[in-house]
């Protein structure tokens, strides 16, 4: 839907590797995707598939021994990969914000909410008065549905519940009206009911402010409810991407199909749940050829030796598999 617009974020061939004692771990290995202005993209994958590292690579906060070794991260035409840490600070929290997984851990326990919000504003605006910044912080809390925001600003994180803390993190992310928010499993640690509230809150806010959202998750149910497009990652690579409708209804990569099958659904009550056989291969010791070979039902000899390239399909979808059903082959 956003293909017509200029993407605000264009990642091409991103490679983030971890140089561990046991060897080079290619956590992100040649990931490419785009996000249009105001678009919501779901980045889906299992633990260790490199989806969070992709998010941290964008914002330039990959921890040692990790390092971006290749590729471009083009944000509104600027290659973020080439910026120094000081230059990157200007983007962080200002144009690109991030929300983390565990709301219990993301707020500093010894600082008031107020302090933590105001510093995010003042970091990007030297001239703003403390009192004005406070008013903006209070309004932001109001926006995410926190009542009596004025009082709550004086509180410490431990005086909030998990869901409330995540709302505070969202409010902090929205403070400077960023163009892009990277949400790293923001609802995973929350109750289902709170999850729903937070998702709809985020959806509403992003629509109102035309903020693009990269929603990193392993939860297909969540992502199908919020995202415009979806990228599926496996072992550091994007294996399939496309619009949410076509990808969810008609997944093409065997891994995506497996993921869909693993979601419990009311329509299949009583039937045994499908699962993907086998285990994710060790990231330190990936097989030659396709990384999914040991778990794939369509595997053939070529898969064992040749790394599959991305296939561009007619409807804008991209799939990294050489054994697509006949009718889809280009």
């Amino acid at each position: 839907m956003s293909k017509a617009l200029d993407p605000i974020l264009k990642i091409s061939n991103l490679q983030t590797h971890f140089f561990t004692k046991a060897g080079v771990l290619k956590a992100v290995d040649g990931v490419s995707f785009e996000i249009g202005a105001g678009e919501i993209v779901g980045l889906v994958g299992e633990s260790g598939s490199g989806k969070s590292i992709t998010g941290f690579s964008i914002i330039g906060l990959v921890d040692a021994p990790g390092k971006i070794v290749g590729g471009d991260i083009s944000f509104k035409g600027q290659n973020l990969n080439q910026l120094s840490n000081e230059q990157m600070q200007h983007y962080r929290g200002n144009r690109i914000a991030m929300i983390f997984q565990d709301p219990m851990m993301t707020l500093n326990p010894v600082l008031r909410i107020e302090t933590q919000m105001i510093e995010a504003i003042q970091a990007h605006d030297d001239s703003i008065a403390h009192e004005d910044a406070r008013i903006r912080a209070r309004d932001a809390l109001g926006l995410v549905g926190i009542s009596s925001a004025d009082e709550r600003l004086r509180a410490y994180p431990h005086q909030f519940s998990g869901g409330m803390r995540q709302r505070v993190s969202i409010a902090i992310a929205m403070l400077n009206r960023p163009d892009l928010i990277i949400a790293d499993e923001p609802t995973t640690a929350l109750d289902v009911t709170i999850q729903g509230q937070v998702i709809s809150e985020m959806q509403k806010l992003c629509q109102e402010t035309k903020t693009a959202l990269l929603w990193i998750t392993h939860d297909l149910a969540v992502v199908s409810g919020i995202a415009d497009r979806i990228c599926v990652m496996y072992a550091g690579r994007v294996v399939e991407q496309g619009s949410i409708e076509s990808t969810i209804l008609n997944p093409m990569h065997p891994y995506t199909r497996g993921l869909m099958g693993s979601v419990p659904s009311q329509n299949q009550r009583g039937k045994p749940l499908q699962q993907i056989d086998g285990m994710v291969p060790s990231m330190l010791n990936l097989p030659n050829g396709c990384a999914f070979q040991n778990r794939c039902r369509r595997v053939n000899d070529t898969c064992l030796t040749k790394q599959p390239d991305i296939m561009h399909l007619a409807d804008g979808r991209q799939v990294r598999c050489i054994n697509l059903p006949e009718e889809y082959k280009v």
Binding site: R92, G93, A97, M105, T106, P109, L111, A120
Partner: protein, 324 residues
């Protein structure tokens, strides 16, 4: 908060009572002051007179009872040697010791925290390794030996700083201290550094361990994701979190700093309580020993209380219900 302080104070009184028993019993089992104080040529009449005068002829339980009753009136006995109230003698010497201990603590914090945080932020760098190696030395070298080496180097070889005694004092804002004069400071520096070395090492190690733990937390990453400058991340987000263990240790160890000062005061002939207690132990000047120990207990108990209160100021999570 009030009930918290009251409970703590009550507990402190019990500690004081138990300590008074232990101190009194312990000290009464050591040596016989009569042998020390009385001329060996004195006759039995003279000996009896002195024993009566000092109350040594009464049963121990009665001696303890009088000790407690008098202690409540601020009288911890008269020195056998000086013939003056023990408490007065100790309190006279207290400012010198306090000055030494506080200045040492100041040095330990002012140098220890930045060095420790630096070593925690860059654990692999050469400078950090040097800092850590230095802190091991600070831990393991005996205080008296370091003191002698400091005197040899800075006073004897280089002649930069005086080796003994307390310098000139001056009074500002009702506080009389040698830190207000240049001569005083030059006298204070070596003993304070000597005394600080051990604490400096523990502050470095604590600050480093705290920094390494805190720096990995999500909230630090989140602060960076907000675009907050690295300076502010370290000065506000990291520092405020590592101050909790550091303040605890500093507070609790301040007492041991005062206790440790006996060694430093002896080496540098610093006219403080520590030197007095060492001299009194030689002379079996029992009232002074008892009074000194009681004062140290009071200091420890008070420090504990202050640390508890400070702790709740620093970490809002430990604040007692009904406070916030």
């Amino acid at each position: 908060m009030t009930s918290f302080i009251l409970t703590r104070s009550f507990q402190s009184i019990i500690v004081l009572f138990v300590m008074s028993l232990i101190v009194f019993a312990g000290v009464n089992l050591v040596g016989d002051p009569v042998d020390m104080l009385i001329n060996p040529e004195a006759d039995q009449m003279e000996i009896d007179r002195v024993i009566r005068e000092l109350g040594l002829d009464r049963p121990v339980s009665e001696q303890y009872w009088y000790f407690v009753v008098n202690a409540f009136q601020g009288d911890l006995g008269r020195s056998f040697i000086f013939g003056e109230p023990a408490l007065k003698l100790i309190i006279q010497r207290m400012p010198a010791t306090m000055e030494l201990a506080l200045f040492s603590l100041f040095m330990a914090v002012v140098f220890g925290i930045p060095l420790g945080v630096y070593a925690g932020l860059k654990p692999e760098s050469k400078v950090s390794r040097t800092i850590m190696a230095g802190s091991i030395l600070g831990f393991s070298m005996p205080t008296f030996w370091v003191g002698i080496i400091l005197i040899m180097f800075f006073s004897v070889s280089l002649g930069w700083l005086p080796s003994t005694g307390r310098g000139e004092v001056a009074t500002y804002f009702g506080v009389t201290s040698s830190i207000f004069t240049l001569d005083g400071l030059s006298h204070l520096f070596l003993p304070a550094f000597n005394l600080a070395l051990f604490k400096l090492s523990s502050v470095i190690r604590l600050a480093r361990a705290g920094t390494r733990e805190v720096i990995l937390q999500d909230y630090i990453k989140f602060a960076r994701a907000k675009g907050v400058s690295e300076t502010r991340v370290v000065r506000v987000h990291v520092l405020k979190n590592i101050m909790i263990p550091v303040v605890t240790i500093i507070g609790l160890e301040f007492g041991s700093l005062i206790a440790f000062s006996t060694v430093t005061e002896t080496v540098f002939a610093w006219p403080g309580m520590g030197k007095l207690i060492i001299d009194s132990i030689y002379n079996l000047d029992r009232p002074i020993i008892v009074a000194y120990l009681m004062i140290i207990v009071v200091i420890f108990v008070t420090l504990n209380l202050i640390v508890d209160i400070l702790y709740s100021v620093l970490d809002p999570r430990v604040r007692i219900k009904g406070v916030s």
